[in-house]
Symmetry: C2
Subunit: 171 residues, 2 copies
Amino acid sequence: MAIERCHELVEGDALRRDFGWALGVVFRAYLKAGNEATGTLPGGPRGHQVLEAATRQPPVSQSVIAQEIGCDRTVMTYLLDDLEREGLLTRRPDPADRRSRQVVATDKGVERLERLRELIMRAQDFVLQDLDEADRQTLRCLMQRSALRLDSLDPTAPCNVVRDIAAADQA
Amino acid sequence: MAIERCHELVEGDALRRDFGWALGVVFRAYLKAGNEATGTLPGGPRGHQVLEAATRQPPVSQSVIAQEIGCDRTVMTYLLDDLEREGLLTRRPDPADRRSRQVVATDKGVERLERLRELIMRAQDFVLQDLDEADRQTLRCLMQRSALRLDSLDPTAPCNVVRDIAAADQA
DNA sequence: CCAACATAGTCTGTCCAGCAGAACATCTGT
DNA sequence: ACAGATGTTCTGCTGGACAGACTATGTTGG
């Protein structure tokens, strides 16, 4: 029960103190555990996220889902093909804009999703296995806040991380 | 100054409450900002991590670096080719095991690394822009703890996330 | 109304990276 | 000495990101 939060990085060398390194390790572990957890689901953890998006009301279009889960629209085409072939969701024309297709989970998809959530939860617990429940909650919340903020930014705009420093980066 | 920690996810739909979703959004934002920040560095943020690993004492082998930063050993081959061609590091045979090559940063590589750290820091601040400094520290620390734990696991072993539930996953 | 432009989805091709497998050099244990 | 394990490199294969083209449809300005 580590009630007090830890606020500094102590262990390890320069690499292990890098936030980007930690992010990569945790992300890859999530992909690995998520792929185990989702089993035969087309797209693995990504397929799960599509299925979550397909339960939204009102229904959302393919391009909205692609943007939300951060994948390319050309990949979304065949990912939805696979999920539709399994009968987990359907594409139907948006009555208000016939260019667009609404992605809607079928009953079978919703049922599968309920079982998937349990399995995905286990994958996430695997990733956060070194934290107690309070720390997991804190981490989940801080990550969600960061993600919500980033999600609201224009995905086509540059991050402008370099700015004035860029000029000094000649070598 | 959000002194009190937040412990529950409140905003958004099912997708936005998913930890895997948040992880993906933050990771992709880090890659995007990191690629901007590292500019012409071969491998982008990944090249930076290799360079960090190349400053370790005692020197480490290619396969150790590949395992630490989570990339394939075959990719490491040409990634090191690129970094070596830029004169940022060298490969030299390990005197204790001539199969193995020690990866060592050159003076030029160390100098480049010092400028890179500043830029990478900015990329990380971009990713965590919605958090104040205390929350960033907390998040960095919790991620590092999770990553250190995952890093110590056998990378070839399955996560065993499914176990008994697997049998019930027929559909 | 119509022409110009924008947008949603699909398809093609390219590039990068993960993965499997093989080849080769070298090390280790018997 | 010999068999097996390990480190590096190379060759295919595959999945996904990205750019570009194309079609169908929607939107806007003349």
